[in-house]
Symmetry: C2
Subunit: 404 residues, 2 copies
């Protein structure tokens, strides 16, 4: 049997007899012939058929001659075809051949196994896969080790609420909200680590940017001076993740301190955090003043950061932490962490025994370190201008959705 030729490769086979396989993407019946467009993972191929064509989404194998035709997609079409049906199909609930999917987002999500076949929807996940590939290759070349940490944890101590409970062999356990504690401990082992994996948030919010499970791109590194070393790695990572056709990461991402941002926004100086409207305004400012889609906001007040956050030694009310704003939204949170055992004992106080496993690493010597986490779906959504993270999630899970 001749080996299969992908649609995108057909122009190299003009005059040859080939075997193509894919899904019937579209049928157009003219008076004497039917044009059948076959879709495979590489693109589309036009088949000129005499007689009836099978319905949309039928899986077919086509033996045919590749003929040049400047008016056909790709400049070629398949003539004298012998079409074999590999699997029959019920036509999809909405047309996959139209330029845009006309169905509502809930209808698309309900029918994800077939809706995702739409070339425009499918393409989003190629962008996401390329971003993850760039994330890893950037870090692999900088001495980072990829790790896989537990998603089932004994306590919900990391940040309190919003955790899913599990029945773990009759004992209570929880789904990990992040690999934070593990990646810190692993700085003690590998110095530089990253993980690509699911994280779980029992988010009671039904918004366009929250999911119950998302893919977190986590990084942590040791032997830093302060959070600026972490931000430098993040800048390299973002450059590695970016398709130049969609975004440019500046050589130096502009930075504004939280206190300066509050001044600029004329916001309430007693508020320890920025509101979404503030983030949008700051992003516009960065675009206007620095020509940048990215902005680092550094030095958030300690009051609103997690307990492991390292304070700014010069101004201890502020932290050595940062958020990265990208096109109006917070994309990344990161910063320097506490590294001295005594500092953890001081901030945890009476709660320290609950954190005994976490504190092991610090008791036995941890270097100054820090890290960050990028939400893959948020990144892809902002990159592609998708209004809702569900548009860039294959099978989203949220307050109301647990299927398909």
């Amino acid at each position: 049997m001749s080996s299969r030729v992908l649609a995108a490769d057909l122009p190299r086979y003009v005059g040859a007899r080939v075997r193509v396989a894919g899904w019937v993407h579209r049928r157009r019946r003219l008076k004497s012939v039917t044009f059948v467009v076959v879709r495979d993972r590489s693109g589309l191929a036009q088949v000129v058929l005499r007689g009836a064509a099978p319905p949309e989404e039928t899986v077919v194998e086509v033996h045919a001659t590749v003929s040049a035709n400047p008016r056909a997609p790709g400049g070629v079409e398949l003539t004298e075809p012998v079409v074999e049906t590999l699997a029959e199909a019920v036509p999809p609930p909405f047309d996959l051949y139209r330029p845009a999917v006309t169905a509502s987002l809930p209808a698309i999500l309900d029918h994800a196994p077939v809706a995702l076949r739409h070339p425009a929807l499918k393409e989003r996940f190629a962008v996401a896969a390329a971003a993850v590939r760039g994330f890893r290759s950037t870090l692999d070349s900088r001495g980072f080790t990829e790790v896989h940490t537990p998603k089932i944890v004994a306590s919900a101590t990391e940040s309190g609420g919003c955790v899913f409970g599990i029945d773990y062999f009759g004992r209570p356990a929880y789904l990990a909200q992040s690999p934070q504690f593990f990646k810190q401990a692993l700085v003690g082992v590998f110095e530089r680590v990253y993980e690509v994996g699911p994280v779980f948030r029992a988010e009671p919010h039904d918004t366009a940017r929250h999911l119950a499970q998302y893919t977190s791109l986590d990084v942590e590194l040791g032997f830093i001076r302060d959070h600026h070393d972490v931000m430098a790695v993040l800048r390299e990572v973002l450059a590695g993740m970016s398709d130049p056709a969609l975004v440019t990461v500046p050589e130096e991402i502009p930075e504004i301190h939280f206190a300066a941002a509050v001044d600029l926004l004329e916001a309430d100086p007693r508020e320890p955090d920025l509101a979404p409207a503030h983030e949008r305004a700051l992003s516009e400012w960065a675009r206007r003043e620095h020509g940048s889609d990215f902005l680092f906001v550094t030095g958030y007040p300690m009051a609103k950061r997690p307990f492991y956050t390292h304070p700014d030694p010069a101004r201890p009310r502020y932290s050595n932490s940062f958020d990265l704003l990208f096109r109006g939204v917070e994309l990344v949170t990161g910063g320097q962490r506490l590294h001295r055992h005594a500092d953890y004992l001081a901030v945890l106080g009476d709660a320290a025994p609950e954190y005994a496993d976490y504190l092991q690493a610090f008791a036995h010597g941890m270097p100054p370190h820090g890290g960050f986490a990028i939400g893959l779906e948020r990144w892809t959504a902002r990159l592609l201008g998708a209004a809702n993270v569900r548009e860039v999630t294959l099978f989203p899970r949220d307050l109301h959705r647990l299927t398909p």
Copy 2:
């Protein structure tokens, strides 16, 4: 401040003043000097110190001169040092500088955040990370798309027992035992997909090869003729994952049909599966007869394979499935799946409505397809000759262990 030099790079700096940073790995006090070995992510550096040295695992920064000394590790040592303590440390519960860790496996696992710093333990995870990198690069170059699928699912229908239950916003849900259903549906979208991610098994067995969470390397591809196309991809993947110093993957992995294996073993022909002793005997046979550490056993009886398994069209009692044995144990399970909607309706019968989400993809046309899953920890364990998968898992989760 001068930039940090890694221990492994010191031979390039003989005569220079450098900054090194790491953990105090070992102290050896002689009459007039103390040798302090500093460990960083690249290796070890010997510092010649006059006066007292800080205890093991103290995090230090050392400014010193690189001096050639053929008797020192790496041929260099650090002289005229100025040592600064970055973080104090309690000495570890067992010596990390001895060639092998003398503690028991439970003690190692209890103290994982510090035990993993032992160079021999840490090295295992570099092997695992390299294997995953090879897995991905092999598939990336063959038109596969990386995907991220839900780990929270609505029903425990895939294989029945051994699932963890979750409280999902007040509704029952389950941790996914595998991405099987999702990866099949995604063949309809991308044709070729892979996923590296955690899978969860509520294994009531306390054995050396079972974990409650492990890292599954999942592959699925469409437009195959039968399971041999899947096995060919698996062979390429294994070659990409292998360190030639540890294992050789033959150009063609030998294959034996289940029925022939039963004859060879003189086993009970009514038994639809192989016992662990059978797997060991077959592995030894492959080693002896074919000089191969790997053996495909194909055509397992349908009776013991999951419902989506494709039968052998010529002998429907047997399946188009395979196991890959590696050095005596089953490493990979895979095969061709059913792809016609009508076949699923026939095998599921009255239970079909429970699988409505899964069946969507098949109703709308699915090509002949198949795939496999490799357990990362099993692979690494067999590669390194580790007797227990816990030895190659950073923070294992099992029937009795939920921390650290």
